[in-house]
Subunit: 307 residues, 2 copies
């Protein structure tokens, strides 16, 4: 009986693996740091294969008990063909037919997906998005990622590039963005911008966003004000998406979501003030629930629900 | 044999009807002005029924030759239940079960849809959107409407309110909009704004957008510059949508689309400069092809392809 899925979350510096059960729980996990190997697909692939086999062996899991392996990658993935097109922050990966290679080596079904889509799938079926047919998931970190569930399925777009809400502009003019555009949402709520704003607000270059979070917990007014401004900006960045997609739910994940309670009121107020009535009335803004497991859990959804 | 579909396009001042054949051509049409009756659903419904029967009689079309009737309405339509929820510019319509009433009176299948979605469906299957699975259709007029084809189907959103690209903001601050928000796309490229800008540019209060179009055709530099600015604004308003949805095609309809040749270069340049590479590389911006027939033709798609 195929009762497990193996989830793999490939990052620039670490790879996480997990065995996910039918309930979407990660019941065993492992990880390894990639070092420079990450830029050599052949080397990383061998490491992935060994890590999967080691994880299964450690838990006494036979291949026959595994429905498949889902791999999330930080870049452009052709999920239909199982090809990694390009990983912007990991050189060396260009049009790698990873699904075919892994299937041959592991002798198990393999599916590939963009990492934010993987998180979106996990939150949708087992986390903060349960029960809805249409949701937008955003991850607030150094980058601002996005994933879309529309009409009860992940929406990848014809070029597998959909979901880039971090690169929807907030203004006609605005700071240059790494994507080549300017004024992008990411430039207003990405960690680099927030850290700069925090340093300016507190007059301390070394203050971290965690510090500002802790100060807010203690009731520090400046810190509470800082997060309210962040929330307003997050809300503003969602207005267009909410008016265009009319989603039932917005799931907010990533590091900054740790301060969700402090940013939520301003997000909700901005949506209420600025979005169209129908859209504002039905959208619910919630914090992601699965934390760093979301990508692993998403593998379960991808393998079993949404091929 | 069900070879025809009856399309009905309900507007604030006029109702258009058409018999659409299997090839998506309108082979017969009629129209009537609604006058004040439009705000009395019962009166308008009787007028609709008579107009449908008269159109069919004039062409000798029997009910057995009609696959169904598709009705496009300017407002919020529950396409699943066949209920007109609200028509913002036509008072008196609130939760009218129009499908059930028309089906009983006409003894034919009836489907309802938002008017811009109807145009989008028509352009998708029989106009400028043929062959693609994912497109965004915008209509540039007094209002700026939008419709979405995603994953090969119309995307309505859980509240049937999706597609409101005219109410995606262009700036954090900006002019107040009738939707209750501010800085909306519509406030920058809607006809009212364009007419004001034209009056200012040419120092003539009475200049019409048609005048500016004609001047552009004659090579007038000020007019060409005016349309280039409009194109830049239209392009800017599309950047977020293109980055988020990664559509294959943008179809531009509505009155301003008459000046498509003059706005296209600036639209394309803005997309190329500001959108993400993958998205910019695959999106094609085209002019709507079906003109004012699009809504009638959409009825054919709705009845036969996409129930």
């Amino acid at each position: 009986m195929s009762q497990y899925v193996i989830g793999i979350d490939v990052g620039g510096t670490n790879v996480k693996l997990g065995v996910v059960n039918v309930k979407g729980k990660v019941i065993a996990r492992s990880s390894f740091s990639t070092g420079a190997h990450v830029s050599q697909p052949a080397v990383l692939i061998d490491a992935l294969v060994q890590a999967v086999q080691a994880l299964m062996a450690a838990r006494g899991i036979d291949r026959s008990a595994v429905a498949g392996v889902g791999v999330g990658l930080p870049g452009l993935v052709d999920a239909d063909k199982g090809i990694v097109r390009i990983l912007p922050n990991i050189p060396g990966w260009l049009d790698v037919p990873l699904r075919r290679i892994l299937q041959r080596k592991l002798r198990m079904e393999v599916v590939l997906e963009n990492d934010v889509n993987m998180i979106t799938l996990g939150e949708w079926k087992f986390g903060a998005g349960r029960g809805v047919h249409d949701l937008v998931c955003i991850t607030l970190g150094t980058g601002v990622g996005g994933g879309l569930i529309l009409n009860n399925a992940i929406y990848r777009g014809p070029g597998f590039a959909a979901g880039e809400i971090g690169h929807a502009p907030l203004n006609e003019e605005g700071p240059a963005c790494g994507c080549g555009g300017w004024g992008c949402f990411e430039q207003y709520v990405g960690n680099r911008c927030l850290q700069k704003n925090a340093a300016a607000a507190f007059g301390r270059k070394d203050i971290s966003l965690e510090d500002v979070y802790r100060l807010a917990v203690e009731g520090n007014k400046k810190a509470l004000g800082f997060w309210a401004v962040v929330g307003g900006r997050v809300g503003t960045g969602l207005v267009g998406t909410i008016n265009i997609l009319n989603p039932s739910r917005i799931v907010i994940g990533g590091g900054v979501a740790g301060s969700f309670d402090f940013i939520r009121p301003a997000i909700e107020e901005t949506i209420k003030r600025r979005c169209m009535k129908i859209q504002a009335g039905m959208v619910k803004v919630v914090r992601a629930r699965l934390g760093t497991d979301a990508g692993l859990v998403g593998a379960k959804v991808l393998v079993c629900h949404d091929k």
